[in-house]
Amino acid sequence: MRSTAPRDALPFLAAARRVLGVLSVVCVAEAGLGQAAPFVASPVPAGAGWRADRIHRSDGGVWYAHVDKVIDAFGQNEVIAGDDKGRLLVLAVYSGQWTAHSVVCDGLWLAPTRSADVDPRVPGREIYAAGRAGSVHRVTLRPQPFARFTLESVEIGHAAGEEFHAVIADDLVPGGQAELLAFGISGAVYELAPTGTSDQFAMRKVGAVPGRVRDVAVARGSTAGPLLYGVSRSGDLLAMRMDQGALQHEVMLREDSGLGRIALAKGRPGVLYVTRDDGVVLRIERTSEGRWQRDAIFAGGQGLRGVASGRFFADDREAVAVYGYDKTVHVVWRQGQGPWQVETALTTEQRGHWLAVGELDGRNGTDELVVAGFDGDVFLLSRPPGHGLPGAAVAKAEQNGGAMLRSPDGLRVAARFGPRAVSELSSLRYQGGFETKAMVFETLVRRGPDGRIAPGLATSWQREDDGRAFVFTLRPGAAWHDGRPVAAGDVAVHFRRWVGLPEHGWLRSNARIAAVRAIGDAKLRIDLDRPAALLADLCAINPTAVMGPGSWTREGEFAGPVGSGPFRLLAAADGDRTLRYAPVTGRGSVELVAVDGDPVDGLLRGEVDAVVSGWLVAVDPLRAAALRCDSRYVVVDGPGSSMWHLHLRWHDGPLADLARRRAVAAAVDRAELVRVVAAGYGDPGTGWAAPSIIDWPQGRMVAGAGASFPQPLRLDAGNADPLLVATLVGQFERAGIRVELAPAEGVWDLRLERSHGVPYDPFTIVERFGRKVGMPTAASPQVGPVDAALADAIDALVAASDEATWPEHYARIQQRLDELLPVVPLFAPRRLAIVRAGIQAPALDHDLYRLDPAWLRAAR
C-alpha cells in the first residue's frame, strides 16, 4: 500500500533542506487533499498568563503530536501529528502562519514517530507511522519545483490483526542507525529494520509486553543504552531496553487504572509523569537509593490523555501539563518540595487526547505546548511574549495579554469580587460576589420581575400543616454541573449545612426551620416550628442557593462550585480577576471581570464589554447619560428596586414631633432628586418598597404643616452620593429647614440609607423596623426603639406563610409607616447597563444580584 504520491521518488529531509532553504515557504499539501492554505493562528481564550492560538483544524480527531525538527531549512520546529482520517501531518510555521502538509498512508488513524534516521538508504531523517490498519509506513519529504515539497509514504510492514498505538523511532541501541519499534494492541512489539537496497524492511517480533502500550518515552543517560518507559491500558508501567536484538521489559508498577500517557521530567533525570485514565497524575522518581517513589500529584477529570513536561515558568520550578476528557489543560507545578499547585492554562470545547511540548515561540523564555484532541483542533499554548525573558522589551501590541487572549466571542461583564473569589464561590460564605454565584447556583424560589415569588430550582410548592410546612417540587430533569441529577436529598444536605447556624440568623426563617427532608428524589419538605414567610427568605442567594454534592470532597472540603444554574464555572484567569463561565446549554463562554474603580472606566479602557448596575456594581447615572450620545456605546435602563430612604429619628430629639417629621417629608421633591441626582434614571416612590414591587402600596403624600425648627437637623449622610446630600439639603433649606451634617458616629436626626433591593426587598423592612432577634449587625442595625404597632404588623408578615396574604401585610405596614413617619422614601435608582455598540443590550429587571442568563448567552 502506498500513498498517491509517486512511489519511485525518494524524497528526503536533507534534500528538502537544500531546496527549501532558498525558496518560498508556500507548500502544497499531499495530492488528493487539496491545497494546504496557510492557517493564520487565531487566538482563543486562555488561562491567566497564557495565550492560546488555534493553529490547525482537522475534520477528524488529531490523536498524536510531536514537536520536532523536520524541515531543517526552516529555523523553527515543526509539529508532527496524526489524525483520525489517516493523515500524517507536518505543521510548519512561518511568521505566525501555519501550513499543514499531509500524506494519507492507509486511510486509518496513525501514530507518528519523531523524525529519525532509521533508513540509511535515505539521506537524512525519516518519519514513521503506524496505526489502526496494522501497517507501518515510512514518510519522507519529496522536493518539488518552486520550493514546494510533498510528503510521501511507503508501507514498510504489516501485521495482520494488529493495531499500533505507539511507534518509536530512536537510537535505542548505541551506535549505528536508529531503531524503529511498533507496539501492537496484542502486546507484541515489532522491530522494522531496512534490508536490501530498495524500500524493503524486515519486520520481526522482538518482544511481548503486558497490555496495550499507548505511549512510550525514551530516556538516555544510562551506559547500558537508552531505556524505554511505556504505559499500557492494563495499568502497567514498563521499563524496556533493546538487548541483543530483543526487547527486554520489566513491570515497574501496576495500577488499578489504565495508564494513558507518559513524559520524562524535563531537566530532572529519573523522574517520570504518568497519567491514569481515572484522572490521576503520578510522579515516579528514582530515589538516591535506586528505588522508585510513586506519588499522586494531581487528580483531574476522568480520562487524562495528554501529559507533557517542560519549562512552563520563568523560574525553574517543576511543572507538568495534562489534558484530557475534561477539556482542560492543567499545569501542575510546585516550588522546591512544596505542595503541588495547579492552574488552568486552557479550556477547550473538544475532549483532549494529546499534549506535546517544545520550542515553537521564541518570544518567551519558556516551552510551548501543542494541544490536540477529538474535534481536530490543534492549539499552540504559550506564555505571552517577554515571559521568562528578563529585560526584554515587549511591543505594546503584544503586552496586553488580556486583549490578545480574550475570547473573540465571549462577553466580558464588569463585576465585583475579591482576589479569592474562586475559593469563595460558595453560597455558604458571605464573600465572593453575588452575580458570580447567581450564575452557578439557584435558589429554590426567587423574586420575579413583579416582585412576587417565582420558580427557581423548584417549579412549584405547597403549604401544608397550616403553614408549618412547605413541600417543594424540584424542576424535572435538573442536573448539577457535574452531570449528576439534582435529588431532593442533595438539597436537604445543603440546607443541613446552614440551617440553625448563627451567622444566618438574619434570615428569620433560620430559627423557624425544624427539619428539612427529601420525599423521594423530586420533593423536598421543610417543616417549621410555626408558620413563617419562608419563601421570602429562600430567595436569598447566601446561604440558600443550593450547592450540589460535587462541591465538596469526601472530607467536606470545598472542591469547587457545582450548582444547577445556567452557567458553570470554567476557570479563573488573570490572577483570579476574571471568572470564565460556560453556558450549561450551548457553546461559548462569558467572563465576569473584577474591575478596579469605576466600572465605566473599565468599559472605556476596553477591559469589559458591558457594565450592568447591581448591588455591588454601581453605574454612575450621570456618566451613563453622557454616554448616550457616544455611538460606541449603548445605554439601557430598567426598573430598580433599591430605595433611597431618609430615616427620621422619630423617637427622640427634634423629630419626635410628628409635625416636624411631616414638614421634613413634605419638603422633599422626589422628581428633582431623580432629575438632578439620577439624571432621570430613577423612579420616585413614597412606599418602603420600590414601585417595581407591584404588591407594595405607595405611601401617602404628606403636606407640610408649618412646623418650626429652632435648631438645625443633623443629617447622617452615610455613603450617599454628595449630590444627593446637597440636593436634599437644598430642598430642606427652601422649606426653611436647616440641616447640618452629623458628626461621624454621632447622634443624627436624619439619616440616608439605601435598601438592599430585590430579592431582599421588600422584606428588608423586617430587619429595619421589626423586633430585633440576636445581636445587631451591620446588616441589621439597632437604630432605635421599636414602634409596637409597626413591629406587630411586621411580625404578622414574618409569620405569614401564604404569600397571597403578603399584600395585606404590606398595606398594613405602609399604613403604619405613613402614620408614624419614621422614614421618607425618596426614589429607586433605575438599573443601568452600558454595552459596546454591536453587542446586544440586556433587558433589565429589578433583581440587583443576578445577570440575565438569556442575555449572557445571546449577547456573544
Partner: protein, 542 residues
C-alpha cells in the same frame, strides 16, 4: 448583602487576634518556645478546627476538648462534660458541662455554644464514618450547662463523642459574625497564639498562666527518618509520634547513640491483628484458624518487627486498656502431620510498612508450623524496584476535585482510594494484617467499624468482604445499643470469648508510643490515647 460590612468586621477580628501576639512575644523574650514536631497534614491555621480533617490530631487535642474522652484505663472519662446520663429509653443523652469552663477567648462555655458546634457537623455526609451522625436527630439545651442529644434509637453515643474530628468543641469566637473561621478557639490546655514562618509553624501558649510556650512544626506522615534528622540537626527539640508512628530502627539507634537525646516510649493502644477470610478458602475452617492462632509467637514477632517496642495482646484491646475482658488463649492443637496443612496467602501492606513486616514475620512462623505461605502485597509494590516509601499503594478511582484544592498524597480522596486498593487485595487473601486506630477509637469504635452492622454508602469503612461472623455482628450491635459501658462489659466478654473460641481474629501486639526528645526537655506524657500528647508539664531542665 452582607459583603460590604463584612470587611469592617474582618478588620475588627484581625485586630482582636493581634492581642495575644504581644504577650507571646514578651514571653518568648524570656525563654524560647520548645519546638515540638508532630506528624500531620499541615492545612494552615485557618483550617485548624475539628470540623476539618486536616491539621493533626495532637495539635487539636492540645487546643480543643471533646465532651468526653477515654481515660488512663481506656474507659469513658470526663472531658468538657463532667457528668452524663440518659433518659430511660436510652434515646436522649444529657451532658453537663464543666462548671466555670471558658474558651480561650474568655467566653464561658455554654450549652448553646456546644449545640451550635454540633449543628455545624451533625448530619453532613463527610462525618458519616461516625455511626452517631445519622442517629442524632436533634441537639437542644437545658439551661446554660446541659446539652441534650436526641437519638433516633438507643445508642452508645459516648463512644462516638470521643472522636476529635468533628466532636471536639470549637468556641463561637473562632468565627466572625459571617461564619468565617478566624482562629482556633477551644478549651484545651494550650491556646493558639500565632503562626510563625509564614504559617509553617504555630506558636501555642498555655491556656493557664505559667510554663513555656511550644512551637508546633509538622512532618508528613509516613515511615521515614525525618524526625531523627530534625533532632540531630537541631531543627526541633521534641518529636511526638502519632498513632501510626513507625520510625526505622536504625534511625532510632543513631539517635540513641548521640548522648544528647532520649527515646521515650509508652504503651500504645493500637492493636495489630490478623483477620481471616471466613467465607471461603482454608481459613473458613475454625480448626485451621485455631492452628494458625496457636502457631504465632508474639514475642518473636515483636522482636522481629518492632525490635521489642511492642506489648503483646491476645485480646481485641491492647493490654493498656485494662477494662477490656481477657481470657486465656485456647490450648494449642496437636501437631499436624507434615504436608497436611493448606497453603495460605497473607496480605500485608505496602512494602516496608509495619503491616508488610508483620506479614513477613508471620510467614516465617506459619511456615515453621507447616503452612505453605505466600505474602501478597499491593500492586504498586509488586515489583521490587518500586519500593515503599509510605505512599506506594495504588490510588484507583480518584474523583476529580476541581482546581480549588490541589491534591496531595495525603488528601482524603487519595487515602481513600489507597485504602480501597489495599482492601481489595486483602479481600482476596486468606489472612490480613490489620491495625486498629487505638484509643480513643479503641476498643468500641474500632469494634463497631470492623464488625458492626454495615452502614450504607460508606465506602471507607474497613468492612471485610471476607465476611463477619454473624454472632459477632449481633453482639456488636447489642453493644452499640447499650450506652452504659459497665452494662456493656458482659457483652464485651462474650465478644472476646467468641473471638477466642472461633479464632475469628488473632490479636498480636500493640506497638509502643514513641517520643524523641532532647535530654533537657522533660515533662512529656504519652497517654494510651494515641491522638493526644500531654505537654502540660513540658519544660527545659536547668
Amino acid at each position: 448583602m452582607n459583603r460590604l460590612v463584612s470587611l469592617v468586621r474582618l478588620g475588627t477580628c484581625v485586630a482582636a487576634a493581634a492581642v495575644p501576639v504581644a504577650s507571646s512575644l514578651a514571653q518568648a523574650a524570656v525563654e524560647p518556645p520548645i519546638r515540638v514536631l508532630l506528624r500531620a497534614r499541615h492545612g494552615g491555621a485557618d483550617r485548624l478546627t475539628p470540623l476539618r480533617y486536616i491539621g493533626g490530631f495532637e495539635t487539636k487535642t492540645l487546643l480543643y476538648e471533646t465532651l468526653v474522652r477515654r481515660g488512663a484505663d481506656g474507659r469513658i472519662a470526663p472531658g468538657l462534660a463532667t457528668r452524663w446520663w440518659f433518659d430511660p429509653s436510652g434515646t436522649t443523652c444529657f451532658l453537663e458541662l464543666r462548671e466555670g469552663a471558658q474558651f480561650h477567648d474568655g467566653m464561658p462555655v455554654t450549652a448553646e455554644a456546644v449545640r451550635v458546634h454540633f449543628q455545624r457537623w451533625v448530619g453532613l455526609p463527610e462525618h458519616d464514618w461516625l455511626a452517631c451522625n445519622r442517629r442524632i436527630e436533634g441537639v437542644t439545651t437545658s439551661g446554660d450547662r446541659v446539652v441534650r442529644l436526641h437519638l433516633t434509637e438507643p445508642y452508645a453515643i459516648l463512644d462516638d463523642l470521643v472522636a476529635i474530628n468533628p466532636c471536639a468543641v470549637v468556641g463561637p469566637g473562632a468565627r466572625d459574625w459571617e461564619g468565617e473561621f478566624q482562629r482556633p478557639v477551644g478549651t484545651g490546655p494550650f491556646r493558639f497564639a500565632r503562626v510563625l514562618d509564614g504559617g509553617e509553624r504555630w506558636l501555642l501558649e498555655r491556656a493557664q498562666p505559667g510554663g513555656v510556650p511550644i512551637e508546633i512544626g509538622f512532618l508528613p506522615r509516613g515511615r521515614d527518618r525525618a524526625p531523627v534528622d530534625a533532632l540531630l540537626s537541631d531543627r526541633a527539640d521534641v518529636f511526638v509520634g502519632g498513632w501510626e508512628e513507625d520510625l526505622p530502627h536504625d534511625a532510632l539507634q543513631e539517635l540513641l547513640a548521640d548522648g544528647r537525646f532520649i527515646v521515650q516510649d509508652a504503651p500504645g493502644s493500637s492493636v495489630a491483628y490478623v483477620s481471616f477470610r471466613l467465607t471461603e478458602g482454608p481459613t473458613a475452617d475454625p480448626a485451621i484458624r485455631r492452628r494458625i492462632q496457636a502457631s504465632i509467637d508474639r514475642a518473636v514477632l515483636i522482636a522481629a518487627v518492632e525490635h521489642g517496642r511492642g506489648d503483646a495482646t491476645t485480646a481485641w484491646a491492647a493490654a493498656s486498656v485494662p477494662f477490656w475482658p481477657r481470657s486465656a488463649p485456647p490450648p494449642a492443637p496437636a501437631p499436624a502431620p507434615a504436608g497436611s496443612l493448606p497453603a495460605l496467602q497473607i496480605a500485608g501492606g505496602a512494602a516496608g510498612s509495619r503491616a508488610a513486616r508483620i506479614a513477613e514475620a508471620l510467614q516465617a512462623q506459619l511456615q515453621r508450623a507447616g503452612f505453605p505461605v505466600e505474602v501478597v502485597q499491593p500492586p504498586a509494590a509488586r515489583n521490587e524496584a518500586v519500593a515503599a516509601s509510605g505512599v506506594t499503594a495504588a490510588t484507583p478511582e480518584v474523583p476529580a476535585v476541581g482546581t480549588v484544592r490541589p491534591l496531595d498524597s495525603e488528601s482524603g480522596e487519595v487515602r481513600s482510594a489507597r485504602n480501597r486498593a489495599r482492601r481489595a487485595l486483602a479481600d482476596a487473601a486468606d489472612l490480613r494484617v490489620e491495625i486498629t486506630h487505638g484509643v480513643p477509637y479503641d476498643p468500641h469504635q474500632s469494634l463497631v467499624a470492623r464488625f458492626g452492622p454495615a452502614r450504607a454508602a460508606n465506602a471507607d469503612q474497613p468492612r471485610p468482604r471476607g465476611g463477619v461472623d454473624s454472632r459477632l455482628q449481633q453482639l456488636v450491635a447489642l453493644a452499640m445499643a447499650t450506652w452504659d459501658e459497665t452494662v456493656r462489659l458482659p457483652i464485651y466478654a462474650e465478644i472476646q470469648a467468641l473471638i477466642d473460641s472461633e479464632a475469628l481474629i488473632v490479636p498480636l501486639y500493640a506497638p509502643r508510643r514513641l517520643a524523641l526528645r532532647r535530654k533537657e526537655i522533660t515533662g512529656i506524657v504519652l497517654p494510651i490515647d494515641a491522638y493526644r500528647v500531654d505537654l502540660h508539664a513540658i519544660h527545659r531542665a536547668p
